[in-house]
């Protein structure tokens, strides 16, 4: 339960976990809003570029390129749909709409969430939540949730391989296909949960009282800069919503 996954040691950006959570929240809220206000559209572009900047800072060049290309393709798709060269009711137009909608609303959020997951250690996250006076009943499930998505994907792909070897496919028999995927997945996930509980105990999570942490949590100049950006963004977002 050490790191969510290995981060980059020589990255320029080194935010406090609280700052990252705030950024995640504001970027999410803005990107999923359906408002057509020009102010909010501008804000969306700024955030898309900001997320790109975070990815580049992590030295994930390949990922950044893929992210930007998919997003730009979606923008082009959006433009084609608005210009009306493809009918929105035709099958092609409908599929294009769905893809564009998903990419524009989800991709930047997912990339931001990925950035937060890959640059935050679990112990940093727990220490930060404790500083914000969140009770353990919220902190621990949240930490588990964040840590678990990659694990779940790994487990599922192994099970998928095993089922392929046994010729149990979702296409031939949906019911047994679902059963033979879900049951092993749940079994392995519960086993991992037991292991995590043991690990948590050795780390002293079960004891009462405030924990001390090896991780240094605190705001630096970077964090204050980020907070300024967040404050300005909230202002723009609210003005955009009011003006419509």
């Amino acid at each position: 339960m050490n790191r969510f996954e290995s981060g980059n040691e020589d990255a320029v950006i080194n935010f406090d976990p609280r700052t990252k959570l705030m950024l995640l929240l504001i970027i999410n809220t803005v990107i999923i809003s359906d408002s057509k206000s020009p102010l909010i559209s501008g804000l969306k572009i700024v955030f898309v570029i900001l997320v790109l900047f975070f990815l580049i800072d992590m030295k994930k060049i390949k990922m950044s390129v893929i992210y930007v290309s998919i997003y730009l393709l979606a923008v082009v798709g959006d433009y084609i749909l608005v210009s009306g060269s493809i009918s929105g009711i035709s099958a092609g137009g409908l599929i294009l709409r769905i893809v564009v909608y998903l990419v524009e609303r989800m991709l930047p959020n997912m990339m931001m969430a990925w950035f937060v997951l890959h640059t935050t250690k679990v112990s940093e996250f727990i220490a930060a939540m404790q500083k914000m006076h969140f009770p353990q009943t919220i902190t621990i499930p949240f930490a588990i949730i964040f840590r678990f998505f990659p694990t779940l994907a790994d487990e599922y792909s192994s099970i998928q391989d095993a089922m392929k070897m046994r010729n149990i496919s979702l296409k031939t028999n949906v019911i047994s296909g679902i059963e033979y995927r879900m049951v092993p997945l749940i079994v392995s996930v519960t086993k991992i949960g037991d292991e995590l509980s043991a690990a948590a105990m050795t780390r002293g999570l079960t004891t009462e009282g405030n924990r001390t942490s090896y991780c240094k949590i605190g705001f630096s100049l970077q964090d204050y800069a980020a907070f300024t950006v967040i404050a300005i963004s909230i202002m723009f977002f609210v003005i955009g919503l009011i003006r419509g």
Partner: protein, 209 residues
């Protein structure tokens, strides 16, 4: 035995007796929230088809039966279902399913917890009833649609297309909301029964209940 280990065991024992949640319970909540979230997300994707944009709560209630019934058998403390429902709702609000779900998640999670508690966390029937109540929270993610009516659907004309919006407008009404609640109820009962059967067939044998 060192004093630290003794103390730890005592703490855990005290927590068990008080009915306070232990870290193990919290980890269980986290794991099953993830499983539930994934099932929710896959099912809700079918909402791209107008009819499923109305009926996805039923699909979720049906598919989530297996993991949720296993989770409910692991629940032995008051509040675990509430936390799970609320956390799922918060995660889904972040994905764009609206903030109304957090309220329904909190309220219905609490009721589900109360039902489980009234059965001393042992009664199978209470467990199924509790799961049915819990499943209905998903309607909360649709409430903005039923409250806003056609104005809500119009907002999607740009992004989702005319065909989608026209179909959706035909479907939105409070009567439809009632139908969704009933279908979700039925689907949840079926899902819970399947969950029970799978529990007996696989999980009890594997010793993970």
């Amino acid at each position: 035995m060192s004093t630290a280990v003794k103390e730890l065991k005592m703490n855990t024992a005290v927590a068990e007796e008080n009915g306070k949640m232990t870290v193990k319970d919290l980890i269980t909540i986290g794991i099953f929230t993830v499983l539930y979230f994934v099932i929710f997300f896959i099912s809700a994707m079918t909402g791209m088809v107008p009819i499923m944009a109305i009926f996805y709560p039923a699909l979720i209630a049906f598919l989530a039966g297996i993991p949720c019934i296993l989770f409910f058998t692991k629940v032995k403390k008051f509040g675990m279902v509430t936390i799970m429902a609320t956390l799922s709702a918060v995660l889904l609000a972040l994905m764009g399913y609206g903030y109304m779900g957090i309220i329904t998640g909190l309220i219905l999670g609490l009721i589900a917890d109360l039902i489980l508690k009234s059965g001393q966390y042992k009664s199978s029937v209470k467990m199924i009833i509790s799961y049915v109540v819990f499943s209905e929270w998903v309607i909360g993610t649709q409430l903005p649609m039923f409250i806003g009516g056609n104005a809500y659907a119009e907002a999607f004309r740009e992004t989702q297309g005319d065909a989608f919006v026209d179909e959706l407008e035909k479907l939105i009404s409070w009567g439809m909301c009632g139908i969704v609640i009933v279908t979700t109820l039925v689907a949840a009962i079926i899902g819970a029964l399947i969950g029970k059967a799978v529990l007996r067939k696989h999980f009890e044998r594997a010793g993970i209940v």
